[in-house]
């Protein structure tokens, strides 16, 4: 460890001030990115969490060093971690389309707490480095997003007359390495003629292939119409 920092790891007034500042600083750093993206938990929330956790762990240390009461240094701060997780669950939201939002924010708050605990105990090396790494990862996520190519998924509607046609369509799609999921079929009658309306999610490699795939499906015998409803992803 960096022993020149040792004088500031205790519970004297100077150490307390330095530790609290460290906690506030790193909490702010972690919260900066969240605030920039207008997430519900901004800079202040993260600073509060880190400071609260630092106070809790400092108190644990104080009880050990300055009083006679037998105690475990880590118990108070360990409870902080559990408690923050409860808070974190409260910020996670499930939307109407069954998407989970807020997981990263919850993890960030939880991590701020852990960093605050480290700061409160005087573990400056760990707290600063972890805070820097977390901040770096949040900032660099934008850079990495450019590297990630998503395969788009389209919701496509196919109108057929024969009951065997859909099976033929599936075979054609498989030959072109298109991923199929969520097949939904509705049977209707128009002017006494039977029609099968199928809705299926197709995962197609790139935009240029999309039109080729659609014309391939349309050319299957028995297919009346191919319609792309929307792009899901």
């Amino acid at each position: 460890m960096l022993h020149f920092l040792d004088p500031f790891r205790g519970v004297d007034t100077l150490s307390v001030i330095i530790k609290l500042f460290t906690a506030v600083l790193i909490g702010a750093a972690v919260g900066l990115e969240r605030s920039h993206k207008n997430k519900p938990a901004g800079v202040r929330t993260h600073m509060l969490v880190a400071t609260g956790a630092a106070i809790a762990s400092m108190t644990g240390l104080f009880i050990q060093l300055a009083t006679d009461m037998p105690s475990d240094i880590t118990r108070i701060s360990a409870a902080v971690i559990s408690g923050l997780s409860f808070l974190g669950v409260g910020t996670i939201v499930v939307t109407k389309s069954y998407n989970v939002k807020g997981l990263t924010t919850a993890a960030g708050l939880w991590a701020s707490g852990i960093v605050g605990i480290a700061a409160g105990l005087g573990f400056y090396e760990g707290a600063f480095l972890a805070g820097a790494l977390i901040l770096f990862s949040e900032l660099s996520a934008g850079f990495f997003r450019g590297l990630i190519t998503h395969e788009p998924v389209y919701n496509v509607e196919v109108l057929t007359r024969d009951k065997d046609t859909m099976a033929k369509v599936m075979r054609v799609l498989k030959d072109h390495h298109v991923s199929i999921s969520n097949l939904k079929m509705i049977f209707t009658e128009v002017d006494g003629e039977p029609y099968y309306l199928s809705q299926v999610h197709l995962k197609i490699r790139s935009d240029s292939d999309k039109e080729k795939i659609y014309s391939q499906i349309a050319s299957v015998e028995g297919v009346e119409q191919v319609l792309e409803i929307e792009q899901i992803k």
């Binding site: 989970v100 997981l103 993890a107 090396e125 707290a127 190519t149 009951k163 099976a167 969520n182």
Partner: protein
Amino acid sequence: MVGSFDAFSFLSVVFRLLLAALCGGLIGFERSKKDQPAGLRTYTICCVAAALATLTSYYVYEMLTAVWAEGESLKFDGSRYAAAVLSGIGFLAAGSIVRAAHQQITGLTTAIGVFVDVCMGIAIGAGFYAAVIGAFVMLIIVFDMMGHFEGAFKRRTRNLTMVVSFEDILDLDTITEAIRNYGAEIYEFDLEETGEGNIRSAVIWTKLPKENTSHSLFLTAIAQMPCVESVQELIA
């Protein structure tokens, strides 16, 4: 002063935190590619924080013996932070498990993924590198390759889950009889709460006959029935 990798020293603290960021980041990058709610940032944050918690335990122990000179305090338990971190991430992960439509549960893989990420972070913080390498390799295999394998497997399997919607509740008997006439077996079916109007729906778990395992042919046959409004296959 700087020290080695194994013992608790400035160098090992730096190395382990960097390793945590790297491992968490790589797994998170993998998950980001699949558009998961927990992506690069979540995995990195959780791994680094877990490693920090474990390192803090080592720090406290060293401080107790060296700087604060309390001696080895009998009540100090070095594993308490790691245990609290694990139970805490369990709560967070539970928040990402979603109960979707038609009795489908989704988000379980995300939850377990974050949980294992924290476990890996704890091992990194402790310097248990052998376990870390094993865990990292396992995670890459499971997240990257098992997905394709499982998807392809599910599409070819004889087990098929579908939700059928119809108007009259008595139609359910007709439908189940038709399924049996097709040669398929019914494991279970579950009538759902009424949706809009008088359209009822039921989730049916079936096993397709050996002679005809085509999912689309079976679904077409069900859709063809006059009492059936729509049929949709559910793939978990």
